[in-house]
């Protein structure tokens, strides 16, 4: 695009600039709005934004090129992104996408000639309990089937604005199947804050310590330790950040917490703010959950009106705290706390080097606490009800309860809250899993568990989890799962370090080769080597865990690979028939004569 094609660009962007000001931290928020206006980020807009924020043009282009939901080329007036999680796949999304493309004479990944729409796939949208799912211009579509896609195709043909589409298409249910202490008991907004103010910050921190609360994002770091380190760090400002970038495929518990327990989460943030001495907090909301933005803003407004946010909270002089929502734009890596902070600063989501850690040098280099949504909800309960009450639930090293997002081959997918220590078998019985064969605990970066291990339990001392719990029945091709995970990591690698940037691609290619019946024994050795390099040489957790599904499958389900392998010890990576794919696409042929014998 040439700059002269957008002569009005400055006027068009004026209102966006007015809303966000001219701090470079707002770059990602500005780019999101530009994407909504033009359906892509024109080169002229990049130049204009760079001038407005007084940053190099390369910085704006760098950020615009990083996030999946921003595009530097036109993506059409309507952008339809089918969720590519394994559960969506099992529910038939690949076939639905082909059906939709065929209906509208489209090719995936390409824009229609009239620039009306494009269709592509995207990483898990967090609707695994009500898939197959997709996003249209950022809004979630659930329970897709042929009839709904027919309707959607018609709505697009008549160019009906997405905001006027039937609301049924966008219905998202909570699906809470089992509520425990966190989800089941009533909570009066302000209760935790009142208790905190009465008890005092140091005493409340002691309650956190007594509760044994550990981070719910998967790593399980002690919340009391994190908060006290941040509290003790010197800085001009302290910040608390709620990590609502729930990107791990198969996880959707935070979606429900933010939808129906937002007060609890905000209250946990406010308690944390009181303890660490923060007057500003951010809620980093993943782009896929943009539909929750308006409702969350309303909760914040209600809390301000009730004196639970803003200046002199609950009449306590000098207790000032407010929360700002920051939207992501499609990047799994931003769930990593230092990448999330970079993104909050309007940068590419690149994990920082450590040390220093965010508790001393976080947002704007100031002491910062980043906590998972569920962690903050737990913290609010603890502040209100005390540490001993919480510590009595769960196991010795894992106090409290854990919310699981259960999906896959089970009769009742949805949200289940259990005290820590629950065995997989009990969970599988509860959710109506029929003839379960494997469970992926905590998504692609977690652990693939075989039926022999169903007596293991959910706890930091055994199977830690960020919440995903995906069930596979006997007969499922687990290689398809591993292929899905390999593609996911290759897509989501930030590209910073060599082992992850190149390694995830090589892993994807080899798994594809095996899945396409061209694998040999030497490819399995290659996968192990690659896994070792990614695990030991990568910059951050994404690379460290990117080989988990591959290695778990090799170790626990060797048959899944073996039956695919050729007898040869080696077969070249070059696939002669595969090389004809382009020609087949051009001619629209897929008959026997279009393939090598």
């Amino acid at each position: 695009m040439q700059p002269h094609e957008f002569p009005q660009i400055e006027q068009q962007l004026a209102s966006v600039f007015e809303r966000h000001g001219c701090e470079a931290n707002k770059l990602l928020q500005i780019l999101r709005e530009v994407q909504e206006i033009f359906h892509f980020i024109p080169a002229a807009a990049i130049t204009c934004i760079a001038a407005h924020l007084d940053v190099p043009r390369t910085r704006v282009e760098g950020v615009a090129g990083f996030y999946s939901f921003l595009s530097l080329k036109s993506a059409g007036e309507y952008r339809m992104l089918f969720s590519d999680n394994i559960t969506d796949q099992m529910q038939g999304n690949p076939e639905l996408m082909r059906y939709f493309c065929h209906k509208l004479w489209l090719e995936p990944g390409k824009v229609s000639e009239d620039n009306l729409l494009s269709v592509d796939s995207t990483s898990c949208t967090g609707m695994c309990d009500q898939g197959p799912a997709a996003l249209v211009n950022g809004w979630p579509l659930t329970n897709l089937d042929h009839a709904r896609l027919d309707l959607i195709a018609e709505l697009i043909r008549v160019r009906k604005p997405v905001c006027d589409w039937p609301s049924l298409l966008f219905e998202v249910k909570d699906n809470i199947r089992r509520a425990g202490t966190l989800l089941g008991e009533p909570f009066i907004p302000g209760a935790a804050l009142r208790a905190t103010l009465e008890r005092g910050s140091a005493a409340t921190l002691a309650e956190m310590e007594a509760s044994g609360l550990r981070g719910r994002g998967g790593a399980g770091f002690s919340v009391a330790r994190k908060w006290s380190m941040c509290r003790a760090s010197a800085g001009e400002q302290h910040y608390i950040v709620c990590n609502a970038d729930e990107g791990e495929p198969g996880t959707f518990k935070d979606r429900v917490l933010l939808h129906s327990y937002a007060d609890l989460v905000c209250e946990g943030m406010t308690v944390g703010a009181r303890i660490i001495g923060a007057s500003k907090g951010f809620l980093y909301l993943r782009g896929e959950y943009r539909y929750l933005l308006h409702q969350l803003e309303q909760v914040l407004a209600q809390r301000r009106a009730a004196g639970l946010l803003g200046r002199n909270i609950l009449g306590e002089s000098g207790f000032d705290f407010d929360i700002e929502i920051h939207l992501g734009a499609g990047a799994y890596i931003c769930g990593e706390e230092s990448a999330l902070i970079e993104s909050l600063e309007g940068k590419r989501g690149r994990p920082r080097k450590r040390p220093p850690f965010p508790v001393t040098h976080g947002y704007l280099d100031q002491p910062t606490v980043v906590d998972n949504v569920e962690t903050l909800a737990c913290a609010a309960r603890i502040a209100a009800q005390g540490g001993a009450w919480f510590a009595a639930i769960g196991t010795a090293q894992s106090s409290g309860s854990k919310i699981l997002s259960i999906a896959g081959d089970c009769a009742r997918p949805g949200i289940y809250e259990y005290p820590f220590g629950i065995t997989l078998q009990e969970i599988l019985d509860d959710c109506g899993a029929e003839d379960p064969y494997a469970v992926q605990v905590s998504g692609p970066s977690g652990i693939l568990v075989s039926a022999q291990e169903f007596n293991r339990c959910i706890a930091f001392e055994d199977l830690p989890t960020a919440g995903a719990f995906t069930v596979f029945r006997r007969g499922r091709d687990l290689l398809q799962l591993v292929q899905n995970c390999a593609h996911f990591f290759a897509h989501e690698s930030c590209g910073f370090c060599t082992p992850c940037r190149v390694g995830t691609q090589l892993q994807k290619k080899i798994v594809d080769k095996i899945a396409n019946d061209h694998g040999t024994a030497s490819d399995l050795e290659e996968l192990k080597q690659l896994g070792h390099i990614m695990q030991t040489m990568s910059h951050c957790g994404l690379g460290h865990t990117a080989a988990n599904p591959v290695l778990d499958l090799l170790q626990k389900f060797p048959d899944a690979y073996q039956h695919k392998l050729k007898k040869l010890a080696f077969e070249p990576a070059f696939d002669l028939d595969g090389a004809l794919e382009t020609a087949r696409n051009i001619t629209g042929r897929d008959d026997a004569w279009a393939h090598l014998p």
Binding site: T58, R59, E61, E492, C494, T498
Partner: protein, 243 residues
């Protein structure tokens, strides 16, 4: 009992390496004459830590030497068969990711990627080549930009920002699509204020940024790595520059 009291004490491959506050493992190693392979690091610029060649084992945990601060009682292992094997794999990854045709490249003999490959005894690229289509930008009157050879070390990004104060280069894209961009709406180097005298024009460890009309001024056989291995060259205080 023999530990020297009251002094900074770190060992690398069994050798005592002194360090001062604020030094990284890499800084201390280079100062002490201990070589740790690296490509994205250049002591003249802010450490980056992306190539991961300098990963060392510190008390049994892998850490990036160029960004990790040296600390008391660190027992560092660097020159081990395991780490060198993994480093070789990383160099092989860089070779297949880009399009590195050494015999036809005018940086051959001056190229640190090539020299690292020799140093780590790489016999073949091992992995399947990606053959990604990448552009050559010859729009600048004095400088070529050949992205086929870019290994994303960001030395030019850092040099242009930290030394030249120009921000000519940046990084866009993600994952395997990560790529160097230049500071112009046209995307062409010729439309930036880049100059052949800029520091950023002389820091590329490969042949991605080359000064025009100097290609074969130094004949093959007389180039930097024709007579020295990369450890000797990188251990010198000043990095070699392309003529």
């Amino acid at each position: 009992m023999g530990a020297p009291a009251m002094s900074n004490n770190m060992t690398i491959d069994g050798k005592h390496v002194p360090f001062s506050d604020g030094q990284t493992i890499m800084d201390a190693a280079l100062a002490a004459g201990v070589y740790i392979p690296h490509l994205c690091h250049n002591p003249q610029f802010e450490p980056h830590g992306s190539c991961k060649l300098c990963v060392v084992s510190v008390n049994g945990r892998n850490m990036t030497a160029c960004t990790m601060p040296a600390a008391e009682d660190m027992v560092v292992a660097s020159n081990t068969p395991e780490l060198n094997r993994d480093r070789k794999a990383l160099v092989q990854m860089l070779f297949v990711e880009g399009n590195h045709i050494c015999p036809a490249c005018e940086a051959s003999g001056n190229c640190q990627l090539q020299a690292a490959a020799y140093y780590l005894e790489m016999q073949s690229p091992h992995y399947t080549h990606f053959y990604q289509p990448r552009a050559v930008d010859a729009s600048h009157p004095d400088i070529f930009l050949d992205l086929n050879r870019c290994i994303l070390c960001e030395l030019c990004v850092r040099a242009s920002r930290e030394v030249d104060g120009k921000n000519v280069f940046g990084i866009s894209g993600r994952g395997i699509g990560t790529h160097l961009v230049v500071n112009a709406a046209s995307g062409r180097l010729g439309d930036t204020n880049f100059a052949a005298t800029d520091k950023a024009a002389h820091v590329c460890p490969t042949g991605a940024i080359l000064i025009k009309r100097q290609g074969y001024r130094i004949p093959i056989g007389q180039r930097t790595f024709d007579h020295h291995n990369i450890s000797e060259v990188q251990m010198k205080p000043q990095e070699p520059e392309h003529e």
